[in-house]
């Protein structure tokens, strides 16, 4: 049996045992509907509200602003279309401003709104060669009719951090009352103190499975008083902002994962940043290898590289054969690696982007994993160069 070297935390992090334990109580026997009035419902409701308190603390917001959702994609969708829909009902013209490097959760949501509603338009904000948002381009894009601006906290492919304080300042300055801001913090959540990193944002999206919790569990957190229309109105749950029975186990799982993440963050960040440095140092000398966004501040867990003249498909195949789980970071619904809109927005040539590899780590990553990865990846690249 081949050893497993897991370098795809950014796709889904290993599930934490403590999360499974905490959720277990809510996955057997009678689990009340938190909206009910009897003792089983009250018990469930208490667990949900305790989870809500923990999520509020995790991002630095008030518990009343926490909306439990079915994951990061739903959170992002609710943020941008929920606010834009509300705006659209009260204005003749609605524009949505997003960065070119947003996750498809945001881009596809706003594109479908623009397609369905003639009064809605989307304006994209450029990034520089390192994938950092261009605040000048943002200033040009913001208008009086802008309903919402969405800029991710850190990019999921490259790990590059975005200047959210600048985004917040510019958005607040738009006349007459400023523009609500949303930040997709799904990729950043394992690494950054979101209370600080997203302090200038009105809405933050997170999900559980990037921090060791269950999939299909996330939250949109509203910091201030943001007017938002529910995407799924349903039975008025979550203060009318997200219909449907709240999944107690999912909420508890998210909260437990968040608590553990915050507790371990300092130790994990320092240790994994060391691995990141080691990986970059070891991979840089390989023929045709370039570290992506070398000039930008990146999340410690992400090493995005490109290999000139090689194809992601082949790198991933041989890595997989040797037990290394990695990703090209952008793939279509069939599972095939496809051209990344993020790298294209950075001005990277398509031929270069074809040889992309994202190696992403987490708290469970060990020194042995990193040492093994370096040996395996070096031999894979050398082999492909030899065969080419």
């Amino acid at each position: 049996m081949t050893n497993l070297y897991y370098f795809d935390h950014a796709a889904s992090a290993p599930r934490r045992d403590e999360v499974a334990d905490a959720m277990q109580r809510w996955q057997h026997g009678v689990v009340g509907n938190p909206s009910g009035s009897h003792r089983a419902a009250r018990e469930a409701r208490r667990a949900v509200e305790e989870a809500r308190d923990e999520i509020a603390a995790f991002v630095g917001a008030k518990p009343g602003g926490v909306i439990f959702t079915g994951g990061g994609t739903e959170s992002c969708h609710l943020a941008v279309t929920g606010v834009a829909n509300h705006h659209r009902r009260h204005h003749d013209s609605t524009s949505i401003v997003v960065s070119r490097i947003e996750h498809h959760a945001v881009i596809d949501a706003v594109e479908s709104m623009a397609r369905d509603h003639p009064s809605v338009s989307v304006r994209y904000v450029d990034v520089d060669g390192d994938g950092v948002l261009d605040l000048g381009s943002l200033a040009t894009a913001l208008r009086g009719d802008t309903a919402v601006v969405s800029v991710m906290c850190a990019n999921n492919e490259t790990g590059v951090l975005q200047p959210l304080d600048g985004v917040g300042s510019l958005a607040r300055a738009v006349a007459p009352n400023g523009v609500p801001t949303h930040s997709d913090a799904v990729a950043a959540a394992p690494w950054l103190n979101l209370a600080e990193a997203t302090a200038s944002m009105d809405m933050i999206s997170i999900c559980a499975h990037k921090i060791g919790g269950p999939v299909s569990s996330g939250a949109l957190i509203l910091r201030g008083d943001v007017a938002i229309d529910a995407v799924v109105p349903g039975g008025g749950q979550e203060r009318g902002r997200r219909g449907g029975t709240v999944d107690v186990a999912a909420a508890v799982g998210l909260a437990t994962a968040a608590r553990l993440t915050a507790k371990e963050r300092d130790e994990v960040t320092v240790r994994v940043a060391g691995y990141q440095q080691q990986l970059c140092t070891a991979l840089s000398p390989l023929e045709g290898c370039a570290i992506t966004a070398p000039g930008a501040t990146r999340l410690p867990g992400t090493v995005h590289v490109t290999f000139e003249g090689l194809a992601s498909d082949e790198l991933l195949f041989l890595l997989d054969q040797a037990g290394v789980c990695a990703a090209a970071a952008s793939s279509c619904s069939s599972g095939a690696a496809i051209a990344s809109h993020v790298l294209a927005a950075m001005g990277m040539a398509p031929e270069r982007a074809r040889g992309s590899l994202r190696l992403s780590m987490g708290g469970e990553t060990t020194q042995e994993d990193v040492d093994a990865l370096i040996v395996i990846l070096t031999s894979v690249v050398e082999r492909l160069r030899l065969e080419a």
Partner: protein, 357 residues
Amino acid sequence: MKVLVAMSGGVDSSVAAGLLIEQGHEVVGATLRLWGGASDSGCCSVADVDDARRVAQTLGIDHHVFNYTEEFERHVVAPFVAGHAAGQSPNPCIECNRHIKFDLLFERAARLGFDAVATGHHAQVLSRQGQHFLVRGADDQKDQSYVLGYLSGEQLAVLLLPIGAMRKSDVRREAERLGLRTWDKPDSQDVCFIEASKGREVFLRSRINLTPATIVDRRSGEELGQTPAAELMTIGQRRGVLPGRDGEKRYVAKVDIARKRVEVGRLDEILVSTILLDGSSLTFSHEELEDSTTVLAQWSAHGRAQPATLRHGDECGRGWWLQLHSPARPVAPGQSVVFYRANEPEIVEGAAIVVGS
């Protein structure tokens, strides 16, 4: 052997993978993602990738998806569109086999450490005295040797065609025996990047301006009608062409996009006895055939092979051409003609693209 099986998500390649496993090979499945646009047919949809993946799971083998959408656009779709714009009728399935499956995929398989590549085509590889020959599939209704006509002897040496000796009904029975969910999946018929519900015209209109043209009787010069798109008229076709005033059927003899004119004629007026070949496309499985070799020539996937003499020389500046032993309907430029051996009519000798007839 370590074998990479190209799995389209259809029943043939599913069974090919299953049989190779039973033969004791180390098998990995790969599905090629070729077409990124809309599709409702053929072998490129996400549903087909799902089928291939599920079959691989059932068989207990690894499965990967390789993205060749850029290469497919460059080698197959763009030339298909450009060919039509020039009044030609290229065969995209042949181009896909040539450039993607048997060029890029073979190279990749070698780089990734595989000893052989397998597909679910209905054709066979015959090895004789150290040489490898492509042979028609055992099921003559399903034979796909035509679309594999450009394979070289070296490529055939590392190609496995596990279902080529089987009849289609047996393939389906095997799939059922192996518990594969594709056992009753209908055969793909159409070009994968053209939606069957919309057709070639809608696809071409999304890429190029189509040319309205006058349909003219070649002999009398009489105008018989109009076509909204000369690019959709294929030399030799009768469909869509009204009969002449004499009530007799008319066939397309010439498509002239520049002059917006499609010439038609009665069958006896348009028959040809030579087919001119593009020398740069000419491929032989092994040695180049000598001038004046008799072959059996086939120029459509399910057409009948016709006796012909392969000629080569400077006569009329023709380069390579086929002298047909009996006259035939003209063949559209861009189509491929595959040569089968005259005395062993199952064996493929080579192939070339038609430039005219």
